[in-house]
């Protein structure tokens, strides 16, 4: 089993989750986060509307899903298509992290791994 965490633009979340379902994901969860990647953060007023500073607090959304290993490439590709903006993509479109998951348990039945996804 593989965990796929995609950091995407908040305005692309609806497209990304539709693509996940189409690619055969059984579920996902979403978290709104702030942070900084290649983009340099966001300008905010810190001086009462008189002075402005840059904060590493750019809003992003993380979509997390766990899938069977054979679905990994299809899901990753679906996320890329759904979250890339413009012709060739732009800085700030996001990043995808892929990692192994050792065990999955469904709380209701106690089913494990593939049966629990």
């Amino acid at each position: 089993m593989i965990k796929i965490e995609a950091v995407v633009r908040p305005e692309r979340v609806n497209l990304v989750v539709e693509a996940l379902i189409d690619a055969g994901c059984g579920g996902y969860h979403i978290a709104n986060v702030t942070g900084k990647g290649t983009q340099q953060g966001v300008e905010v007023f810190t001086g009462r509307g008189a002075t402005i500073t840059t904060r590493a607090a750019l809003p992003k959304t993380v979509v997390t899903t766990v899938v069977k290993a054979d679905k990994k490439d299809a899901v990753v590709e679906a996320i890329i298509v759904a979250s890339r903006t413009g012709e060739d993509g732009q800085i700030g479109d996001g990043k995808i992290f892929v990692s192994p998951v050792s065990e999955v348990i469904r709380v209701r039945t106690g089913e494990k791994d593939a049966a629990a996804l």
């Binding site: 007023f45 810190t46 009462r48 509307g49 008189a50 002075t51 402005i52 904060r55």
Partner: protein, 398 residues
């Protein structure tokens, strides 16, 4: 007093009281999310403590006929303060109580996010007694020396705003810089700031249009110039902000509006509509650059009390002498009032600075008090550490 004036002054008193919770939200929105309850309480608790002090001895010290510098104890416990509308003594005392409540609350913008709350309660009592009451007596009591001199302060530019601004500098300096704010603090809730500024603006009509103590033409004129100065300073702030940063700040709009209201306060009974525009213009420009310059100084006036209320108030006092109509202002070739108001400004600055300094120094060394919250409490946030409450309970665990 006629019944119309009685009705208006009761309403005006309520309007001025409402400014204090307005200020609470104004300040509360500007701080970090972990210090919202604390910041709001600094203002709200003044409605409790100062009301009691005012009834017991504050009013008597401020408005008793005790001489040029301070009142006396004739009206302790509101003894002999008549509720007969014919002389309006109690109504005046009520109206003045609301000014006494908001003035120390203004100071708390400078000490927000780190001042120890228990010590603050003691400070409220001492400051109203030893700083506010004497200055109110000088300026507004019939036998006060600045009143007799001929200084003009219609609604409290010296007593309220310069006084609070200077005390704020002293308090910010003595309590020291907040921990971990070198990169600046982003206001945690901008709509709170706008809500608070809106309530302040609304209440300010009672503050200024009530200060003639009558429902008459002067009140109408004071209402218009109050609104006009606030409006001009608001516009000046957003434009200057845009010139310097490329963005239009809502917090800047709120700050500008308050700065305009501060500056028109002493002038509101003396200037016309065009004078109000001049007052608002000056207030907007001066306070905007005062905020920018303040960053270069070593003291952490967290919410810019000196820049907005101190500088705005000083400008308002001088502007009263410049733009007053009816042959008493500099625009009519008469510099006398301007001179008296310079004296009033300097006297207020000196007295507020020295006595606030002494009060805070004493509170700092009294065992069990001290000015500053513990470092760990400050880091955790004063809300949870000193009040056991949070502004935002987001985890759903209970």
């Amino acid at each position: 007093m006629d019944s119309g004036s009685v009705a208006w002054m009761i309403m005006a008193s309520a309007l001025v009281l409402f400014m204090t919770p307005g200020l609470a939200f104004f300040y509360g929105g500007l701080v970090r999310g972990k210090n919202v309850v604390s910041t709001v309480m600094y203002s709200f608790v003044s409605m409790g403590v100062v009301s009691v002090v005012w009834v017991l001895w504050g009013y008597s010290l401020a408005f008793g006929e005790g001489g040029q510098f301070i009142g006396n104890f004739d009206f302790v416990g509101f003894k002999d303060v008549s509720s007969d509308p014919a002389d309006g003594a109690m109504l005046f005392a009520i109206f003045q109580m609301m000014f006494a409540i908001i003035t120390p609350a203004l100071i708390t913008g400078a000490i927000a996010e780190r001042f120890k709350f228990t010590t603050y309660l003691v400070f409220l009592v001492a400051w109203i007694t030893f700083v506010y009451a004497p200055i109110a007596h000088w300026v507004w009591a019939g036998d006060g020396w600045l009143f007799e001199l001929g200084a003009l302060d219609f609604a409290g530019g010296t007593v309220v705003h310069i006084n609070a601004g200077i005390a704020a500098v002293v308090a910010a300096y003595l309590v020291g810089k907040r921990r971990g704010v070198d990169r600046g603090v982003e206001p945690h809730n901008v709509p709170f700031v706008i809500l608070g500024a809106g309530i302040l603006w609304f209440g300010w009509f009672g503050f200024n249009a009530g200060s003639g103590l009558a429902a008459d033409g002067l009140a109408i004129s004071a209402f218009l110039v109050t609104n006009t100065a606030a409006a001009v300073a608001l516009v000046v702030w957003v434009i200057l902000g845009h010139i310097h940063t490329g963005k239009m700040s809502a917090v800047g709009a709120a700050t500008g509006a308050v700065a305009g209201l501060v500056a028109i306060t002493p002038a509101s009974g003396f200037v016309g509509p065009m004078g109000a525009i001049a007052v608002g213009l000056g207030a907007g420009v001066l306070t905007f650059y005062a905020v920018r310059i303040r960053y270069k100084f070593g003291f952490d006036d967290a919410l810019e009390v000196m820049a907005v209320h101190g500088i705005g108030g000083i400008w308002g006092a001088l502007a009263t002498g410049i733009f007053a109509v009816g042959g008493i202002g500099l625009v009519d070739g008469d510099a006398e009032v301007l001179g008296y108001n310079v004296v009033a400004v300097l006297a207020t600055i000196a007295y507020s600075f020295i006595v606030t300094f002494i009060i805070l120094k004493i509170l700092d060394v009294i065992p069990g008090l001290g000015l500053r919250a513990e470092d760990a409490d400050e880091d955790a946030g004063l809300d949870i550490a000193l009040h056991g409450e949070r502004a935002y309970v987001g985890d759903g665990a209970d």
